[in-house]
């Protein structure tokens, strides 16, 4: 069947919808030409990206990741096109499209951003799965590991157990109860990182000490933090510890990169400690985590819906200086309309019985205005984020959506 794609041109938020053969997508070169043809772009260095199921922006620049991208479509695939020179590579990767930083950006993040990029090559279809963080503040014998879970495709994959560990106390060595990693699930995230091993002692979960807590409590803490799990362990094998040298001791960013996450900026929230102590206060809403999905169905006052849509899309259109002449000014509502289509349209062969239309919005950015929260983000990227996050679908979430019919109108071009 045909695979419908949706694309935007970031200098002007232009949308196109067309289809590609899912089984034989062809070569990247052809695809690139096709896009340039559809958008009537010529002789321009383009950066093509797509939104994967988790809402992450990932690049398309060779046959392999093009194939991967097409295979990700279900059935819509969102393609983003940007001028090569406008591309900010930091915007690729995990949570790049969903994450909004709060006004409080820690020092560490700023350091990361300013750090000159080491070109290891284009990040392909990589995503960080783990990192070692806070090497500068932890004893060398300890290791703080952050696991990145992307949706539900890969299990965290480890087990913990009770055990006994030996501590040095003022009264000499003392045996104390401890929590240990007991098993790794083959193919799981934990095993894949190579940073955790069976019999490593778990010392902290997201900055909170586990001593004095029961196995079940620690289990519940880990699961509750599974969207952003930071485990501090005392590895059973102490030979592979990160050796602190004066050269890198100042920057946790570098040391964390050496731990295996290739060239991705650490988007950590202060690496654990800081954010966690803030969390202990409890009430503040942290924006770093996955937000809840809210589906609101307008039972009787449909006018409200479009109001809301315009509001969310307004920022999309604002930084669009040279609007191509052929595009009507209705581009704003088009954008928002698309967002609904893409959500509802996934299984249009199902029932058409609902006249309700649903709007999905994510309860992000609560206190802050849409854009003001992070001045560091570039406008073009900002708008990109905006669109994508509003377009974002997730297989799990779309399951929960009532099935509505898809109606196509003139603004959608079907090839």
């Amino acid at each position: 069947p045909a695979c419908i794609e949706n694309k935007s041109l970031s200098y002007g938020a232009e949308f196109r919808r067309f289809s590609v053969d899912r089984v034989k997508p062809g070569k990247f070169e052809e695809f690139s030409r096709l896009i340039m043809h559809i958008h009537r772009i010529a002789n321009m260095e383009l950066m093509i990206g797509y939104a994967d199921v988790h809402g992450d922006l990932l690049p398309i620049n060779n046959d392999d990741n093009f194939c991967k991208a097409v295979s990700m479509a279900h059935p819509l695939l969102r393609i983003f096109i940007q001028r090569q020179e406008e591309v900010d590579y930091t915007s690729f990767g995990t949570n790049t499209l969903t994450r909004r930083k709060k006004a409080v950006v820690t020092m560490r993040n700023d350091v990361n951003r300013k750090r000159p990029h080491i070109r290891i090559g284009m990040p392909q279809d990589f995503r960080p799965v783990s990192s070692i963080i806070d090497v500068d503040i932890l004893p060398e014998s300890h290791r703080r590991v952050r696991l990145y879970r992307h949706g539900s495709d890969k299990p965290l994959g480890f087990y913990i157990r009770d055990g006994t560990s030996v501590r040095v106390t003022p009264h000499g060595l003392e045996k104390v109860p401890g929590i240990f990693i007991s098993r790794m699930v083959p193919g799981g995230l934990a095993e894949g990182t190579g940073l955790l091993a069976v019999n490593d002692e778990v010392l902290e979960v997201n900055g909170i000490e586990v001593s004095g807590k029961s196995l079940d409590q620690v289990t519940d803490m880990m699961i509750a933090n599974s969207h952003n799990l930071i485990v501090t362990v005392k590895p059973v094998n102490q030979r592979n510890n990160v050796v602190r040298s004066s050269r890198i001791s100042g920057s946790s960013g570098q040391s964390s990169d050496s731990g295996g996450s290739t060239g991705y900026p650490s988007l950590s929230v202060g690496g654990g400690g800081g954010a966690l102590s803030a969390g202990a206060g409890g009430v503040a809403l942290e924006s770093d985590e996955e937000a809840d999905i809210v589906i609101e169905s307008s039972v009787k006052r449909p006018s409200r819906r479009s109001n809301a849509s315009v509001a969310s899309a307004a920022s999309t259109a604002s930084p669009a200086p040279p609007s191509p002449p052929s595009r009507p000014p209705s581009v704003v509502s088009t954008a928002s309309f698309h967002s609904q289509l893409s959500l509802n349209g996934s299984t249009n062969h199902q029932h058409h019985h609902h006249h309700l239309s649903y709007q999905l919005h994510r309860d992000l950015n609560l206190q802050n205005g849409p854009q003001t929260s992070n001045p560091a983000l570039r406008h073009s990227n900002g708008s990109l984020h905006k669109i994508l996050s509003s377009l974002r679908t997730d297989p799990r979430h779309s399951l929960a959506l009532p099935r509505g019919g898809v109606e196509e109108d003139g603004t959608v071009i079907t090839l």
């Binding site: 157990r161 079940d216 409590q217 969207h227 009430v283 589906i295 609101e296 609560l366 979430h397």
Partner: protein, 1000 residues
Amino acid sequence: MYFSQSRFIFIHLSLFRFCHSLEHGFPHQPSALGYSPSLQLLAIGTRSGAIKLYGAPGVEFMGLHDENAVVTRVHFLPFQLELVTLLDDNSLHMWTLRAHKGVSELLEIGRFTLTGPPGAPPSVTRVTSVLAHSSGELLLLGTEGGHVFVVEVPGFRELEERNISLDQVANSVPEDYIGRRNLEHVETLQENPVDPNQVVIGYGRGLMVVWDLEKHQAVQHIPATQQLESTWWTEDGGHILSSHSDGSYCRWTVGGQSSKDEEEKSDIPYGHFPCKAISKIVQLPTEEGPPFLLFSGGMPRASYGDRHCISVIHGKTHVALDFTSRIIDYFVIRDGDPGALVVLVEEELVVIDLQTEGWPVIQTPYLVPLHSSAITCSHHVSAIPLKLWERLLAAGQLQITHYSPKPWPITGGQNLGQDPPQRDLLLTGHEDGTVRFWDASGVCLYPMYKLSTAGVFHTDADPNDNMNQCSEGEWPPFRKVGCFDPYSDDPRLGVQKIHLCKYSGYLTVAGTAGQILVLELNDEAAEQTVEAKIVDLLQGQEGFRWKGHTRLDVREEPVLFPPGFQPFALVQCQPPAVVTALTLHSEWKMVAFGTSHGFGLYDYQQKNSVLVKCTLNPSDQLAMEGPLSRVKSIKKSLRQSFRRIRRSRVSLRKHHVTNALQEANARLEAELAEMELAPVQRKIEARSSEDSFTGLVRTLYFADTFLSDSSHNSASLWAGTNGGSVFAYMIRMPSVEHRADEPITAHPAKEIQLMHRAPVVAIVVLDGHGSPLPEPLEVAHDLARSPDMQASHQLLVVSEEQFKIFTLPKVSAKMKLKLTALDGSRVRRVGVAWFGSSRTADAGESGLVVLTNQGDLNVVSLPSVKMQVQHPCIRREDVSGIASCVFTKHGQGFYLISPSEFERFSLSARNVVEPRSLVEVPANATAASKRRAAPDGASADNGYTLRLRQTDRQTDGHTHSITNVLDDVDEPPHSVMSCPHPAAVCDTTALSYAPIFMCS
């Protein structure tokens, strides 16, 4: 001490104060019974080392031995406030009721263990019988070695010269006494009622020796040859009755012309075939007419060896009272003639009126077996309107006609507690389909009314399986007494959820087989047919196989319902899974219910289903197959085994009993062995939509709020699931005049999927002031301020892991409080409560009361969701205790500490229910005992340590003692300095109380 010393833990704006205030129900595993005729107090010791005293209703005391040992004996010292307990670690403990500020407290004031001569085997001092001598000064302790030790009380001073050694007795035993074999242990010690200098020492071997304490010599030998079980010295002092292990008893003449030890009469009451032992025998005279003879046991071994009987013989009347569980002990209260027989059996206390024809049972005002059928759920309703209260009482009165009209015979102590400030009801749902209504306003949890839902259905119950039937001329003449009956005839009847509207008198009860009954209070009996509405929660979901039980079979003919709550509407869920959430809106006349498959909304005025929503995840195999989990199947098979046993008891096939028991045991052992093989490790995995039972509906909530826009409020239904989903439906109600005929509709309005996917355990809408919306009809009855509908409402979603506030009508997250991510505890029970300030009458605030799986109680403020107080309350291992917890609307709560007991606690500074009572030495007590009642310094020097009760099983004494000193303003800590006996202050708990002891 236990009760009156409340544990002041935390004071926050004088709103919160935590204390365990008292225990309701029947003590778990009682092991000893004592009674003081002079104080008219009853004492019960338990296997866990607790000692509980009861007098008049409201007079209750409790103490706990530091040793976690079984209390084997309880003896009051005659005419005094002291009592002695013996534990199975062979230690003796002295307790007293000491008045402090006009309120009595139960205190342990001494402990003692017999020390034998050096090198003697432990059996020499192992206590097997205790006699508290009527002088109040002596304690006689018979031991396994056959010696009798004499100890002075209350100071526990051994009087070695008065000890009666086995040798002294053995030397004087007549030659012809069966070759003078070993006399064995001291089985009984009894004082001559007319001569306090004489005691009878009964040895296990059968020999009884009447001993003169003054002359220190044997007066008479009674050469019984059967193994001795008990002795009884008749009131005139002329006879001794002995009961024996072969089911016989003998009457011996004593005194007068010495050594005329003729056996006057011997009898095996249920003889011919071998009988079981008569464990205790009592004979009491009447002023005119024949005496009462009472004995326990003695049943024919083969046919009725498993019955728990006390036989009462008075003239020609002979009844074998057949109890529901093992007899611990019994005594008779006398007012001249024997008045009431008080029997402590393992699961209940039964009091039988011996002066009324037919010997009816007197209803107990306390110690009621809550677990007469296992408790499956509970529901608390605060501040019941007087009208409903009276109607309930009236309905309840009609149910207790078979009880004796006599007042409760145990009347010791004065209840000084104030009348409860309001009428509170605790409703318990039971496995047999009953709902019991308890007056929970005060110290006594008093039964008010019992509702049975079984009448609506045809059940498995075998109509011939009636144990009460007693055919004419049956021997022994059994009469069943007691109400403990743990065998449910049909587990599907089990009550799982209850919701009562106190304003309208509507009640809804939901059960194990997906049945939801709506009931109405009716003062008249009525005959009516209850029509069932079957609601298919699957909504066409395919691939479903229900392997669980079938739906209950509804009686189609009219059923006669007695006055009280009468069912008028019935919904049956299909599949008939256990109902997991239930709520009632009496103003809208709707009931919402949920199971593991979905939820529904039912209009009980039109008797019509309004909405059905399936929440089942098609990939969830477990939920698709029904409720046959492993644990439940064990339980079920055990239950069936027990029922087989029970039936076979009736059919007298004893070998079958053993077989069934062995079978059940073997099966249980196999299951347990299997469980133990699994290593203790926990999988760390994020929750996903594929998890099991994500569709299970955990909470349902009605709210009149802003769902679509901020200018139009409407009725709404909210549902939360195990998978972290919240569904909101807008309900369109017809106008009042068309309410009866126009259909109600419900439309999906919102759906929230919490990303942490933890089960949603509560949903609350907060009004413009941030206060929870009032209950239905609360405003109409002028009992609550109307909610603020001007400012915007907020939605509070409580999951097991977080408290999260969302805005309304547009749902977006506003604030949250994380629990699990920070300390690993999870929300188990949650309720909204109003905390009134203890200082200002009107001040106060609403808060969320939360019990976690760690057993901690928290108060979370509203609407700011901030943690206010936290206090450990229940041991985290006590899973059933945590699961049973129910909160009141005023910051109190109840939880089960055993299958038969509720512990009551309070988090509120204003609302505390605790016993306050005074027990005084009776006026007819001797001068000597009065003198002893006042403690003097000398006794403390004599090596008995002042020890105050550790009042709590869970709290560590640390917090408790420190805050106690800080907060107890009435007794400033500096008074400790004036304490003349530093030794008395060894326990920090005692700090603020030690001076009181010394000065009193």
